[in-house]
Amino acid sequence: MFKYIIKRIVNYVIMLFVAVSMTYFLASAFMDPRSNYMSRNPHPPIESINRSLDLANINDQTPVVIRYFRWLKGILTQWNWGLSPDQSPVAPAIASRISASLQLVTLATVLSILFGVSIGVYTAIRQYKWQDRVLNTTATFFLVVPAAVMGLMVVLLAINFNNIVGSRAFYVTGLHSYQGSNPVLWVFDYLQHLILPTIVMTIPGMVGYHLTQRTYLLDTMNADYVRTARAKGLTLNAAIRRHALRTSLIPTAVDVAFSIAGVFTGAVITENVFAINGLGMYFTQTIANNDINGAVAVAAFGGVCTLTGALLADIFSAWLDPRIRLS
């Protein structure tokens, strides 16, 4: 088991290295930091542009292979992920934003799982009854609404609500605005900020878990072993609860494992809609600013999270399913 995990990690490190290197080359090929300076009118002198680009190791006049090895060396020897075009170091910028993303996404993830799985079980047991139909239609509806639309509509409603109430019940930007030192007010203020983005992110997560959990349970509900359990003398509901539900939660647990990692990477759209300075927002900025080092670093961090999720998923399923052995 332990050996298996070590082997997996080694494989993932290699995979990550290849993926990140590939991203570096693609980003270097497609991003043009020089244009940041050239588009200014009048543009700064070429030598000064080159000096700035050289300092950040993103000068397109230096062969990309040389830049790559410099960049790699910086990471491997000093854990230095390079500079943005504005000469600010990338690594601390990312570190500071992870916390914002974490604050934003954790609650939404937990709520999505709790509500989603419960509703999934509830509807599966009532397949084709009106509760199932109503909840299912609602879920399919929310499943397809684009994230941006969902976010903006919630903002619109909240603003109207604020206007009607005549006070700022909900904040639509940022995570904090309270400046005082009263912890109760601080929490209250935090919740006022958090509630809208949490709604926006919980709904799609929740309907996702709802629909998949419903399918998983429906798949196992008709299994032969549920029939065996009924033949032993369990009622239909008891047989489903004890036998089908337990088995159907295994794939859900695997999905959960994957999503744990997603908590750290934040939510690109939601952060942009609510002007929350998290990792997702930072990622969009790096792309817009031709920040090669920044974009690659975010991609690398995302890769680490994805692979951690994959590893967790493996461990979860081996833990829950006696048929699977990690060896």
């Binding site: 995979m15 990550l16 290849v18 993926a19 590939m22 991203t23 693609l26 980003a27 497609f30 991003m31 043009d32 397949q127 084709y128 239609t137 399919t140 509806f141 499943l143 397809v144 609404v145 684009p146 994230a147 941006a148 639309v149 903006l152 509509m153 903002v155 619109l156 603003i159 032969d224 690109v268 759209i269 942009n272 809609v273 990622f283 969009t284 792309i287 817009a288 974009a295 975010v298 991609a299 995302g302 890769g303 994805t306 692979l307």
Partner: protein, 332 residues
Amino acid sequence: MMNDNENMVSDAVAQDMELTDPQGSEPQSADAKNAQEASSNDDFHRTGRMQLYVRRFMRRPSAVVGLVVLILLILLAIFGSKFSQWSYDEPDFAALASPPSAQHWLGTTVGGSDMYAMIIRGLGRSLTIGIFSSFGTTIIAALVGTAVAFFEGWFEKVGMWLLDMLLVVPSFLLIALIVGMAAGGSDWLWLAIGLTAFGWVGYARTLRTLTLSLRDREYIRAAKFMGVPSFTIIVRHLVPNLGSVLVINTVLGVIGAVNSETSLSFLGLGIKAPDTSLGTLLNAGQSVVQTSPWVLVFPSVVLIVLTFSVQLIGDGLRDAIDPYSRSGGKAE
């Protein structure tokens, strides 16, 4: 082994009856003369596969509604611009940020562009991108996914490793990079290409898993034993047998592509002015949400109607094609 189907009771039995039709219409006697009787004995009730699918699809009101709405949206995208005097790229400087009126049915943007014209244009873009990249994604994923599963051994190992690796690279970034370097005007095409080029990976993995179960089917082995070339087996046997999955996923893939397009354009990384798309309109609407909410509301509604109608069609198709669907009638 003798497998008694009865155990699967009701649905499976009913389903088998339906599709197999083992009615005594094809006699199996020892004498070949009975073979002649068979042709004249053709009067049994038979439901063709397509006919069955259509009937089941049509039985779902939601699916029919979805189909009608989608057809209307497509017609609107094609012919909608004929009804308006305004064009998406001709701002009316006399009416900046004006609310809906007889002149501008859905109002104008801050820059004076007619919202109706913009939405028609954006809808067309979203539909084109969605359909184009959904088809492209399906084709690439089907070929790669089946090939990786079909060729066992090192090809499969390397293929899977590459697919895993591609999943690690954020496709969002790559698409944004490709669109970013596109020259003005052709960015919608590059967006569609980008969505196709990086959108197939996860799907290919799913198809590979499905193919794994097909790979050991006896008709595939039978073809191998006969010496049928590998590529022929993939194209003739594997891909068609994934058919229902492919059809459903192509339809639902449109939603994914439309959503990705919306997200990217909303973030300013997709389609940019002077061209427009529904996502770009959302971006424009975000900053004026308090002053001119119509800029936000109308494209949002169109997007929701578009994606939801496609979803209804997809669900209807799934129910119609999936042999275990329970859309059958009730016992007397």
